[in-house]
C-alpha cells in the first residue's frame, strides 16, 4: 500500500523538483523566478501541440521518448521511498534498475543520432562517455553498501542503513558513498557541474542538445522522464541517508518529501555557486565518484 502510494506520489510530484531548483537559482541570483509549478504548465503546453519531424528521422525517433519514459517508470518501481519497500524488490533488483536506465539511455542516444545532426551527435557522444563512467561508480557504490548490509536489493539496502549508522563503524564508508551518489545524481541528471540545463549554445550542452529536434508530446515525454530521473536518484540518496529510519506511513512519506525538497534546494545552491566544468575535466569528476565508491568498499572490507 505504502509502495503504491509512493509510486503514485513520484509520478505526480516529480515535475515539481525542477521547479524548486529553478526557484532557488532565481532567488540566489536576485530574480523572482518562474512559479514552482512552471514545469507542469510546460508539460501541459507541450502535450497540446503538434509535432515537427525531420526528413532524416525514422520510426526510432518517435519510439525513443516512449521507451525512455517506460524505462524510467519501470525503474521507479524498484526504488523505495518514504521508509517503505519498493513495489518490486528482490535480490539483485539494483541490477535491473541500472540496466533499465541504461535501456532508456540507449534509446536517448539513438534518437539523437537519428536526426543526423552533428550537434546531436556530439551530445550523444558525450552522453555515452558519461554513462560509461557513471555506471561503475553507481554499481560499485551500491555494491559496497550491499556487502556490509548483506542485502543485494535497493529496498534491502535502504532499510539497513540509516543516518544513525553514520556514527558507527561503517559510517565513514556510508559518508563516502553519499558523496559519490550525490555526484552520480548530478551527473545522471545533467546538472551543473557536468552539464548546464539552461545553456543556449548547442556546443556546450549534453542532454539538452540531444533533444533539440524533439517537439510536442515527444518533448513532453522527455521532460517528464528527466523529472522522474531526478526523483529516482533523489529517492536513492534519501534512502541511503535515511534520516529517521522506519516510520509510519504518513510520517515516512512526509520525511521523504522533505528530503526531496532538501536535495532540490541543495542542487539549486550548487548550480548557483558553481560553474560548469570544462568538458575535459568532467571525466575526472565522475572518476572521483568511482574512487570514492572503491575507497568505501575497501573501508567496509577492512
Amino acid at each position: 500500500m505504502t509502495s503504491l502510494l509512493s509510486f503514485i506520489l513520484a509520478l505526480t510530484t516529480a515535475p515539481l523538483i525542477p521547479g524548486i531548483i529553478n526557484r532557488i537559482k532565481a532567488v540566489s541570483a536576485g530574480r523572482q523566478g518562474p512559479p514552482l509549478l512552471q514545469n507542469y504548465y510546460d508539460l501541459a503546453k507541450l502535450m497540446k501541440k503538434g509535432v515537427v519531424y525531420s526528413h532524416t528521422t525514422t520510426w526510432l525517433f518517435k519510439a525513443s521518448p516512449v521507451i525512455q519514459c517506460a524505462a524510467a517508470c519501470a525503474a521507479l518501481l524498484i526504488v523505495p521511498f518514504g521508509g517503505g519497500a519498493a513495489l518490486l524488490h528482490f535480490k539483485g533488483d539494483l541490477l535491473l534498475f541500472a540496466y533499465l536506465l541504461a535501456m532508456g539511455r540507449f534509446f536517448l542516444v539513438l534518437g539523437a543520432l537519428d536526426t543526423g545532426s552533428s550537434f546531436e551527435g556530439m551530445g550523444a557522444s558525450r552522453e555515452v562517455l558519461i554513462s560509461a563512467l557513471t555506471e561503475p561508480a553507481f554499481l560499485l557504490g551500491f555494491t559496497a553498501l550491499a556487502s556490509f548490509t548483506g542485502r543485494f536489493s535497493l529496498t534491502g539496502i535502504c532499510h539497513s542503513v540509516s543516518f544513525l549508522s553514520l556514527f558507527e563503524s561503517a559510517g565513514t564508508a556510508t559518508l563516502l558513498i553519499v558523496v559519490a551518489m550525490m555526484l552520480v545524481f548530478l551527473t545522471e541528471n545533467a546538472r551543473i557541474p557536468v552539464d548546464d540545463p539552461n545553456t543556449h549554445l548547442e556546443l556546450t550542452m549534453v542532454h539538452e542538445v540531444m533533444v533539440l529536434d524533439h517537439s510536442g508530446p515527444d518533448l513532453a515525454l522527455i521532460e517528464y522522464t528527466a523529472a522522474l530521473k531526478l526523483w529516482i536518484y533523489g529517492a536513492l540518496l534519501i534512502g541511503i541517508v535515511n534520516p529517521a529510519g522506519r516510520h509510519t506511513l504518513a510520517m515516512g512519506l512526509l520525511i521523504g518529501l522533505a528530503g526531496m525538497a532538501v536535495i532540490a534546494i541543495l542542487t539549486g545552491f550548487i548550480e548557483s555557486i558553481m560553474a560548469r566544468l570544462p568538458w575535459v575535466r568532467v571525466p575526472q569528476l565522475i572518476a572521483s565518484a568511482l574512487v570514492l565508491s572503491i575507497l568505501a568498499s575497501i573501508i567496509v572490507g577492512w
Binding site: V51, S54, L60, G92, Y99, E202, D213
Partner: protein
C-alpha cells in the same frame, strides 16, 4: 545414440553432396537439405539428454587399447551442440544468398564442403571422449575453418589473416597435445574419465597449457590476435559460425578440464577472473576504436568471451570454496552467456554481411541511413545490439545478471574473511559495470552511425533490403534473443541436468534449492520486464492519443540555420567515440595522421586515425621475427631430399628405443 550417430553422419556426408554432377544448383540444394535433415536428427537425439537427463555413451575399438573411438553425450555437451546446429543451419541458408550465385564454381563447392565439415567436426569435438579423437576432431575443425576464411584467398590481406589464424590456433593445439600427455598419467589411458590431474608443478602446467591452448581458440586476450584479422576476411556466415559457435569449443574445453578436479585451487579461479576482466574491458575498448564493422564485432567477441571467462572464474572459486551458489551462478552464467552470445553475435555478423551485400562496404563512415532502406535488417540488428548490450528484457541481461550476482555472492562469501578476495569480487563487479557502459557506447555507435542519419556514400544511399534467405535467419535469431530472455525462469530450472553434469559432487537437493531461489529472482526480472512493456504500451497509447488530429509536419533537421548541410557533416564513427578513445589513450595507442590547414584561408585538410592491436604489434610481431631469425639458422636441416627425412625418422626412433632400454 544411434539417432545421434546417424545425424552427425548425415551432416558429414552432406558436405560431399555438393560435388554431385550437374549444373551445381541442384547439388547445392540437396546438400543444404541434407544438412538441415542431419541437424534436425541430431537435435532430436539431444532431447532425451537435455530433458530426461540421460547420458549417451559409445566406445568402439579403434587404433590401440588406449585410443578408442569414444563418444559421450551428456547434458553439457548437448547444450553446446544446440547452437552449433542452429547457427550451422541458419548460416547455410543465409550463405546460399550471401555468396554470388556461382553454383558450378569449384571454389564455392569447396567452400560448402568445408562448411559442412566444420559443422560435423564441431559436434564431434563436443562429444569426443578420448583425447586422441578429440585432438583429431579439433584439427579437422581448425583446418576446415582455415579454408573457409580463405574464400577470398586471392586478396593478400585475406591470406595474411588466414595465416595468422592458422599460426595462432596451431600453437594452441601443440600446447593441448602436451596438456593431454600430462593428463594421461602413468597408465597412458586417453579416455576423458580416466584422465588424472597430476599434482604439483605438472598440475600447474596443465592449467597453463589449457589456458593458452583453449584460450587461443576462444580468443582470450592476449591470445586473441587472430579474431580481428580472420573475421573481417571471412564471408559473413563463416564469421557468424566461427565467432558465434566455434570459439566456444575453447570454453567447453576449459570447463571440461576444470571440472576434472573436484576442488581446483583458488588461484585458477582468480587467473580466469583476471584474464576475463582484461579481455572484457580491453576487447571493448578496441571494439570502440574500430572503423570496420566486422573488426568491431570481432573485438566484441573477445569481450564476450571475457565475460564468459569471468563466469568460469567465479564458478571455479565456487568449486574451491564448496559454495553451491557461487558455482551455479558462475558456471551457469558462463554457459548461458555462451548460448546468448551464439545467438546475438551470429545475428550481428549476419547483419554485417547483409550491409556489405547491400552497400558494398563495411566501413562505418561510408554508411548511414540504412534503417529506412533495409528495415528488416535494421530492426533485427537493433535487437541484437540491445541484447549484446545486456539491456533487459533481452537474453544478454539474464546471463550478465547471473555473473554479477555470482560476483556479489563471492564478496559476501569472503567478507570479513579475506580482504584481497573481497576486492577480487569488487573487481569483477567494476569490470562488468564498465563493460556495460562501454558496450552501450560501442553498440549505439555501430547501430547509430550505420542505420541512422543520412547515407554517407553512394552505395549506402542506393541500398535495398536483401532476400528473405538473408533476413529470415536474422529474424529467427532475434526471436531467440527475446525467447531466452523471457523464458529464463523456466529455463534455469530445466537446466538442472546441466548443473548435475557440471557439479557432480554437489548434493542434488541443495542444487535444486539454489536453482529454485534463482528461479524466483528471474521471475521477478520477468515481472520487471513485463512492467516495462506495460509502461511502453501506456506511454505509446498516451502519445497516440495526444497526437490524434494534430498537425505532424516534416522539416529539415535543426542545423543552427545553416542552409546547406551535407551528409559528410554528420558525426562519424570516429568522432562519436573520440572522447572515450582519448580518455583511454594509454590503453589504446590510437595513431592519428593530421594535415591541418595552416594558412588563413581554407585549404585541403585530412585526418586519419587507426588503432592497431597492441599485442600483435609489440608482442607477437617481434617474437615471430625472432623465431624466424632463429629458424633461418636451422635451414640446413631441411635438405629437400626424401631419403634424408627418412633417415631423420629412423634416427629418432633409434634414439627413442635406446632411451627406453
Amino acid at each position: 545414440m544411434t539417432l545421434f550417430l546417424w545425424g552427425i553422419t548425415i551432416i558429414f556426408i552432406s558436405g560431399f553432396l555438393v560435388f554431385l554432377p550437374g549444373r551445381g544448383k541442384a547439388a547445392a540444394m540437396i546438400s543444404q537439405t541434407a544438412l538441415i535433415a542431419g541437424s534436425l536428427l541430431t537435435a532430436v537425439a539431444l532431447y532425451p539428454v537435455l530433458i530426461q537427463d540421460q547420458v549417451l555413451h559409445i566406445s568402439l575399438q579403434w587404433m590401440t587399447p588406449e585410443i578408442r573411438f569414444a563418444l559421450h553425450l551428456d547434458a553439457l555437451s548437448a547444450l553446446f551442440i544446440l547452437p552449433v546446429l542452429l547457427v550451422g543451419v541458419l548460416g547455410r541458408i543465409y550463405g546460399s544468398r550471401y555468396l554470388p550465385a556461382e553454383w558450378h564454381a569449384m571454389r564455392q563447392k569447396n567452400h560448402w564442403f568445408f562448411y559442412h565439415l566444420l559443422t560435423a567436426a564441431m559436434v564431434l569435438v563436443l562429444t569426443a571422449w578420448n583425447a586422441v579423437l578429440f585432438l583429431i576432431a579439433w584439427e579437422v575443425m581448425t583446418v576446415a575453418s582455415f579454408f573457409l576464411v580463405l574464400y577470398h584467398g586471392e586478396a593478400p590481406s585475406v591470406r595474411r589473416a588466414g595465416w595468422i589464424y592458422l599460426a595462432a590456433t596451431q600453437v594452441g593445439t601443440a600446447l593441448l597435445i602436451m596438456m593431454f600427455i600430462l593428463l594421461s598419467g602413468p597408465s597412458g589411458a586417453m579416455d576423458f574419465d580416466q584422465l588424472v590431474m597430476p599434482a604439483g608443478i605438472h598440475g600447474t602446467l596443465v592449467f597453463l597449457f589449457m589456458l593458452v591452448g583453449f584460450g587461443a581458440k576462444a580468443g582470450l586476450i592476449p591470445f586473441h590476435i587472430w579474431l580481428p584479422e580472420a573475421h573481417p576476411a571471412a564471408p559473413s556466415h563463416v564469421s557468424a559460425l566461427m565467432s558465434g559457435v566455434m570459439i566456444k569449443t575453447g570454453i567447453f574445453g576449459i570447463i571440461r578440464i576444470i571440472t576434472l578436479l573436484q576442488t581446483p585451487p583458488a588461484w585458477w579461479g582468480w587467473v580466469l577472473v583476471g584474464i576475463g576482466a582484461l579481455s572484457g574491458v580491453q576487447g571493448l575498448l578496441y571494439a570502440m576504436a574500430q572503423h570496420d564493422l566486422k573488426r568491431l564485432l570481432a573485438y566484441c567477441s573477445v569481450e564476450n568471451i571475457g565475460i564468459i571467462t569471468l563466469g568460469l572464474g567465479i564458478g571455479t572459486l565456487g568449486l574451491n570454496q564448496a559454495s553451491t551458489l557461487m558455482a551455479i551462478l558462475g558456471f551457469g552464467g558462463a554457459v548461458w552467456h555462451m548460448l546468448n552470445h551464439a545467438l546475438f553475435k551470429s545475428l550481428l555478423f549476419f547483419g554485417a554481411g547483409s550491409i556489405q551485400h547491400a552497400t558494398g562496404s563495411l566501413q562505418m563512415d561510408q554508411l548511414g541511413g540504412l534503417l529506412k532502406r533495409m528495415p528488416r535488417t535494421g530492426i533485427t540488428f537493433l535487437i541484437g545490439a540491445a541484447a549484446i548490450s545486456a539491456l533487459p528484457p533481452f537474453n544478454g541481461f539474464i546471463s550478465e545478471l547471473l555473473i554479477y550476482r555470482g560476483a556479489f555472492e563471492s564478496i559476501l562469501h569472503f567478507v570479513n574473511r579475506s580482504l584481497p578476495h573481497q576486492m577480487g569480487g569488487l573487481l569483477i563487479m567494476g569490470a562488468l559495470a564498465l563493460m556495460g557502459g562501454l558496450a552501450l557506447a560501442v553498440f549505439t555507435k555501430a547501430f547509430g552511425i550505420i542505420f541512422l542519419g543520412e547515407p554517407r556514400s553512394e552505395g549506402a544511399s542506393k541500398a535495398r533490403e536483401n532476400a528473405p534467405q538473408m533476413w529470415g535467419p536474422m529474424a529467427a535469431l532475434a526471436l531467440g534473443c527475446m525467447a531466452l530472455g523471457f523464458a529464463s525462469p523456466w529455463l534455469i530450472k530445466a537446466a538442472l541436468p546441466v548443473f548435475k553434469t557440471l557439479l557432480p559432487t554437489f548434493q542434488q537437493d541443495i542444487l535444486l534449492a539454489e536453482l529454485l531461489e534463482l528461479q524466483e529472482m528471474l521471475f521477478y526480472i520477468l515481472w520487471g520486464s513485463l512492467a516495462f512493456i506495460g509502461f511502453l504500451i501506456l506511454a505509446g497509447a498516451l502519445r497516440w492519443l495526444l497526437l490524434r488530429g494534430k498537425t505532424v509536419q516534416q522539416a529539415p533537421t535543426w542545423g543552427c540555420a545553416y542552409s546547406a548541410p551535407k551528409p559528410k557533416m554528420q558525426y562519424s564513427a570516429s568522432s562519436f567515440t573520440q572522447p572515450l578513445v582519448r580518455l583511454f589513450k594509454t590503453l589504446l595507442r590510437t595513431r592519428s595522421h593530421v594535415h591541418s590547414p595552416l594558412s588563413y584561408f581554407p585549404t585541403k585538410a585530412d585526418l586519419h586515425t587507426h588503432t592497431p592491436d597492441l599485442f600483435l604489434e609489440s608482442v607477437y610481431a617481434p617474437l615471430m621475427q625472432w623465431i624466424q631469425r632463429l629458424t633461418d639458422r636451422m635451414r640446413w636441416v631441411q635438405e629437400g631430399r626424401i631419403q634424408l627425412y627418412i633417415l631423420y625418422i629412423a634416427l629418432t626412433l633409434l634414439f627413442l628405443f635406446i632411451w627406453k632400454l
